[in-house]
Symmetry: C2
Subunit: 311 residues, 2 copies
Amino acid sequence: MRILVALGGNALLRRGEALTAENQRRNVRVAAEALAPLGREHELVISHGNGPQVGLLALQSASYDRVSEYPLDVLGAQTEGMIGYMIEQELGNLLPFEQPFATVLSMVEVDPEDPAFQHPSKPIGPLYGEEEARRLAREKGWTMAPDGDKLRRVVASPLPRRIFQIRPVKWLLERGCIVICAGGGGIPTMYGPDRKLHGAEAVVDKDRASALLARELEADLFIMATDADAVYLDWGRPGQRAIRRASPAALAALSFAAGSMGPKVEAACDFASRTGRTAAIGTLSALVGVVAGEAGTQVGAAAPGIELYPA
Amino acid sequence: MRILVALGGNALLRRGEALTAENQRRNVRVAAEALAPLGREHELVISHGNGPQVGLLALQSASYDRVSEYPLDVLGAQTEGMIGYMIEQELGNLLPFEQPFATVLSMVEVDPEDPAFQHPSKPIGPLYGEEEARRLAREKGWTMAPDGDKLRRVVASPLPRRIFQIRPVKWLLERGCIVICAGGGGIPTMYGPDRKLHGAEAVVDKDRASALLARELEADLFIMATDADAVYLDWGRPGQRAIRRASPAALAALSFAAGSMGPKVEAACDFASRTGRTAAIGTLSALVGVVAGEAGTQVGAAAPGIELYPA
């Protein structure tokens, strides 16, 4: 089976943890333990987020020297290098030496006319108190938005239209490589009036880019690994119920939190409805069960509306 | 023909230029113009240095927050992402859309017992005056060494023993990809007593890693693109003479500056003597001539000792 696993932010950094190399590596090691059994049995592609990382690198480059402050495409490329390396190394330490790996730098095309450029919505970097957030907004021209009881920088998150490196990724999968790609939703790029490809000041949503990747790679299964063990009906309310299986149409008809589960449900429905194959949402620790169809929320055309887990 | 071009530091940043994204991109664009004709006619692999970049990222992460100061392996991975992206994008803008590209993150194995760990020699980051250099040495435990009339941080530069991603790179070349890899000499890693692969606090010499890469990929031609249009006898003295062709044995018997031409000559002789194929040293602007054997210094077993260009 060809499986794409999109690692959520918490696979790399738990909320509230400092963004040190050690913390990231420790979390990646846990993720690698969960991924290793899949790597032994299936064609495996891994994508990942980069929200905290790209935000931190932006702060680092800005604080050291305004001259060398880098745009988001370049910082995104840096995070693909850093996170890809950690995943490849830690997963490599758990699998036979002969297993080939490749982290393939991934560029994603976005539309310069995408309305998302007018409405920044993707949170990156650390959380700020109100005063600091106001200062940063003023000094750097950043847009800030609430995140819990704090504030966070938000940037444009246009739709991914194309992943340029699809062919190399396919060729490597055919040779048995475990491939890490489309990190951070891919490096955002767009064609200018000069018909050349340029960087875009944006961060593409990782789940959307991963859905596109899964589709183009004709993955049999597209898994979004996250904090939640399933998609819930009435999440956070008494009587909340975990969804076992859902058809894309039935699931898309429900509404979920815009910042967290919403984009994942949207990406799952998009993949399942367009391909007729299965998308799943669940925790890393239950990954083998998710693949077996026994854990997480499975979204597929064959599902009968909405089927819940026993209460 | 399968050609590996190792881009010298000046292909990315000219001496004295600020390390901005714009400056790097402008230089990469010039390099891409030189590389494009090779990409149209040959199997092309591109490697590159990262000395200024990895040094700057180290300073950025240290100055923002000591907690998130990253080790050199992680920073090296970041630079492979950043520089690989710029090369891939700029070269992609010059070649037909159908041309596939892949930047493959590259990990290099070094020996933890390598004596280089006791004798840091590889300069990274910016130039400092004496006072600032002394302060940094004290505060951060860095080793500083002279570079012209200034000082610069030096780190360990152990020998590369293995490039882990050789197979994926080969597979991609066989499919017609232009591959960018082994950037910055590769991400330095080593096996620990636990038999796991860990990061190494080092920067591998790009020319050495590129020679190993060229050998393993069975490249027909290994080119080191640099500032100098050739290797010179009596460089900097009246009567200096450019070498047109040299056998590895004859060239290895001469002595060259340790910091600049020395490692390139060593890498060229190593490749040519081990493989019987040709290594060449010359400028980016003369790249097509270097491939045709009409420019630069060509190092190969068939060369008759040392042959000079006309004075």
